[in-house]
Amino acid sequence: MTSVVELESVNVHYAKNWALRDVTASFPAGAVGLLGPNGAGKSTLIKSVLGLLAPDRGQMRVLGLDVRRSPLQIRSRIGYMPESDAHFPQMNAVSFVAYCGELSGLPRADAMQRAHEVLYYVGLGEARYRTIDQYSTGMKQRIKLAQALVHDPDLLFLDEPTNGMDPKGRDEMLELIRDIAHNKGLNLILSSHLLPDVEFACDHVIVMDKGAIATAGPIAGLKGPGGRVFELRIKGDSDRFIGVLRSAGLECHATDEDVMRVFVPDDRGAPFLFQLASQEQVQVRHLRASVPTLEDVFAKAVGEES
């Protein structure tokens, strides 16, 4: 199977707002990042695929099964880690995860055994008998991952899994996600607005913006070969110079106050930038060939205003 999720002309709207507009996409097996700014429609897309939201129009297939016809069969083979805090009240972690395993179709004894294993795996082994109400935000993220993993799904949906985590916890969570996708053989779809998270854990990316697919493909392919992106800082009117660069056929976007990233689509390279600067009498303060990042892909796909 080459695609784990296939969408065809999917439309979802809330009241007067279109959350998904004619979305057609194919999520390949492996680790796929679903990237986009807040409000791009990522969570709506995941909820539609899970069958939690009924789309107004369109076809969706998950693991080869039609979402409308076989929602329960699909849900028994997937794991879902929601964005917001979610747990069953008055339960300790191991009971909670075992209960989730049972709900997903594991026999009772197996669910309990796997709950212990998965809690160790996500790093909550020592805290597994504490009630979830006592957990920190980072621990709650881990327990959500554990409940999504306990029944050994074929496909994992992770909705903003690093939300609210401290840097160390975030790194550990990303390591876990990467390990799940690359060493444990699970397919996963990681929805995030954080580019480094997706770049670290995933091989493919689908970028969403304003309810539509902006771009999609393997991350390495989308970033293109190195050496064509330059970090540039100038002394002078940045906005005017960005306009000059764009009129010269270069893609350019500002990253912070005075640094811009310039895409040179051919082999003209740095001399061409110096030449343009000289023509415009702009002083180049800093020019460095840079490795293209997912940020560049994202900026190209959704534009700087996002």
């Binding site: 809330y14 009241a15 939690l52 028994s76 747990h87 069953f88 997903s104 594991l106 795996y121 444990k184």
Partner: protein, 280 residues
Amino acid sequence: MPIHDQGYRRYQGQRVPVGRAWWTMARMHLITAFKRRWFLVLVFAGFARFLGYAAFYIVGPVFIPQMSNFAELTPQIFRNFLNGQSFFVFLVTIVLGGLIADDRRANALQLYLSKPLTRVEYILGKAAPLLILILGLTLVPALCLILLQIVFSGSITFLVNNLFLLPAITLASITRALVSTFMILALSSLSKSRRFVAIMYAGIIFFTLAMQQVLRGITGSRAWAAIAPTNMMDVFTDWVFRVRGPQPVPVYVAILVIVGLIVLSAWILERRVRPVEVVS
């Protein structure tokens, strides 16, 4: 070695077919409820009443024949028994009233409904523990009373003479359980606080009783009894037990109110039990 290398392995065992998750839910809720000692005491107290009835009306007259003069077992005794159990039914309903409200507070609905179970199964999983406990406090002990009567009298004459008791007990108990369960679950789906649900439920029960008294006082009509669900349950129970009750409301009105309450509750549940709440 990183901690994540210690654990995860693919599952090789046999999975349970989909469609049984509701029972997993129901079992978990029952286990959780019975972990509280005071809840055990409450259920035992409800059952103790059965023991009292059995001792007084069935076992006592066998060993002390003089008792049969004032402790004769009649169909009215079964009616009274079910009426008395209403208090325990009310308490159990109140205690388990937060089943959906707790899930709403903890944002657990989307978690449940992302598992292989439908909304109907979810509601069934919440309703089953209530139904089991309520029927365990009404139907089961009432049927046990009949069984004990047969065992201790050594004949089935009483049952044969009052054969209508079996459907009457079953119908009255199931109707009572359904109304209580649907009402409390509907209220539970409207709130995130189990306390508020309990207050709302108690409010509906007691406020409607008080209101019908007030309206009856003002208008002089006894038909106002129809606004209190408790009265309608009594009218229906009196009818199935073939006894004349104090309420002047016709039984078809009682049936209409009962069906209306269940339909209204089901409609509320259909609207409120959703994995994604869309605010328009």
